[in-house]
């Protein structure tokens, strides 16, 4: 499974490298799948140092910050692919708490729960209360909107949001927008933002300087990964047309329980691993259902995503790390010129 995924990622990166896009100065991407990463992260400065080496020595000045993305906790899931999703979420939180560079906040990109049950949300809240980062931002996954049109989710996590739970906020010069593409889905379609949200989104960006780094986050990928499995968002193209004028756009999604990356112009797309169970690479299985891996390998295919913002480059570096040690350090370069070798 990891090898297959690795092949797929390598393939994608090769595609990236051939697209002729000059992406210097706006984004660095590194994803690692080895022990090196964990260690590197706990050692501090790894990503920004690698970034600074090749780009800008001034990195590290005040204003730099990082945040962590977690996704697809599926609290309530208890099938063989992971009989204890609460424990693996706890492992993810422990990992975040152990980071030397404390993230300013956490973003959860949906599927908090398996069945939108109050008890599942309660368990999630209980685990997340143990996070050292006290601010947590959410967007819902389709599993969180299963009851009463998402009322249970919205009551708990949607305070101060618009519509089905979309909102934006600013943090140290970066503009974040949480979008909802799991509500009112149409027969035969994929994820959907809908007219009302698109209007709100366009309006939210109006008047903002093109040099403002933008981070979009939503549950289902905002780029089409695999339509047969609904891994995309029908009206994402319109949404992305609104961010075209910005110099740095990072799109963070979940839903597919594996890492995928793509760069298109100045927009970098990234999907995160789940904290609960892996899903197959597109088209490699009869369906997108949970993949069962041997218990001792489960934590290698679950993980968290650390995103570092470096003020001087107005860039974000995205680093994925598995929950468990993976033995060998199978790091790979993000195709953007960053060097993914462990420090040490």
């Amino acid at each position: 499974m990891p090898d297959k995924k690795q092949d797929l990622i390598d393939q994608q990166l090769q595609d990236l490298n051939n697209d002729g896009v000059d992406r210097r100065g706006f984004l660095k991407c590194m994803a690692w799948t080895g022990t090196g990463l964990v260690w590197t992260m706990s050692g501090g400065i790894p990503v920004s140092r690698a970034f600074a080496k090749s780009h800008d020595r001034k990195a590290g000045k005040g204003g730099d910050f990082s945040f962590v993305q977690i996704s697809d906790s599926h609290i309530g899931f208890s099938k063989p692919a992971n009989p204890d999703v609460t424990a693996t979420l706890q492992t993810a939180i422990n990992k975040i708490n152990a980071m030397a560079d404390k993230p300013d906040f956490i973003i959860h990109t949906g599927d908090l729960s398996q069945l939108s049950k109050p008890s599942e949300f309660d368990t999630l809240d209980q685990v997340l209360r143990g996070a050292s980062a006290k601010q947590i931002y959410f967007v819902p996954g389709e599993h969180d909107m299963l009851s009463d049109n998402g009322d249970e989710y919205l009551q708990r996590y949607g305070k101060g949001t618009t519509g089905n739970g979309w909102y934006s906020f600013d943090h140290k010069g970066v503009h974040f927008i949480g979008l909802v593409n799991v509500a009112n889905l149409k027969a035969g379609g994929m994820g959907s933002l809908g007219h009302e949200q698109l209007e709100w989104f366009e309006d939210d960006l109006r008047g903002r300087s093109a040099s403002t780094p933008i981070v979009l986050f939503a549950h289902i990928p905002l780029w089409t990964i695999y339509p047969d499995w609904g891994w995309g968002t029908d009206d994402s193209e319109q949404a992305l047309s609104y961010v075209k004028r910005f110099g740095s756009v990072t799109v963070l999604n979940g839903h597919i329980h594996q890492i995928m990356q793509k760069v298109e112009g100045k927009v970098s797309f990234h999907t995160a691993m789940s904290t609960a169970f892996p899903q197959p690479a597109p088209g490699t299985a009869p369906s997108a259902g949970p993949v069962k891996v041997p218990a001792d390998q489960l934590q290698r295919v679950l993980g968290i995503t650390d995103v570092n913002y470096v003020v001087s480059g107005r860039s974000l570096a995205v680093v994925d790390s598995p929950l468990g040690d993976s033995g060998s350090s199978a790091s790979w370069n993000g195709g953007l010129g960053a060097v993914g070798s462990p420090l040490g």
């Binding site: 899931f77 099938k79 692919a81 398996q114 069945l115 939108s116 389709e142 599993h143 299963l146 009851s147 889905l185 149409k186 027969a187 035969g188 379609g189 994929m190 339509p227 047969d228 499995w229 609904g230 009869p286 369906s287 997108a288 259902g289 949970p290």
Partner: protein, 119 residues
Amino acid sequence: MTRKNVWLASLATPVVIAMLLLLAGSSSVTANDQPSAANAAVKIDNFVFGPQTITVPVGTTVTWTNSDDIPHTAVSTDGVFKSKVMDTDEHFSYTFTKAGTYPYYCSVHPKMTGKVVVQ
């Protein structure tokens, strides 16, 4: 439960059943009037409704059963029926009393679509 309670319950049960029969009278008669009434099954497996199109006589009760590890729904595209969320091995039934074509989908995974043709 004490002996007295058992006695009370045994007395009350026929009364309740009689009331229910009275209440349900008209609809149960209608159902019995359908000579071709039958049951049909749609299995949800690997994110697919199987069979994708099912043709049944009027009065048939169709039962959807979810065999996936992931929850699904069966929701009529035209608003005729809407299942609750079906977790693994849970099911939902709907009785079709009028001829017609009833497209439906899983509102959680809308790529999953199916059709019930009632003749």
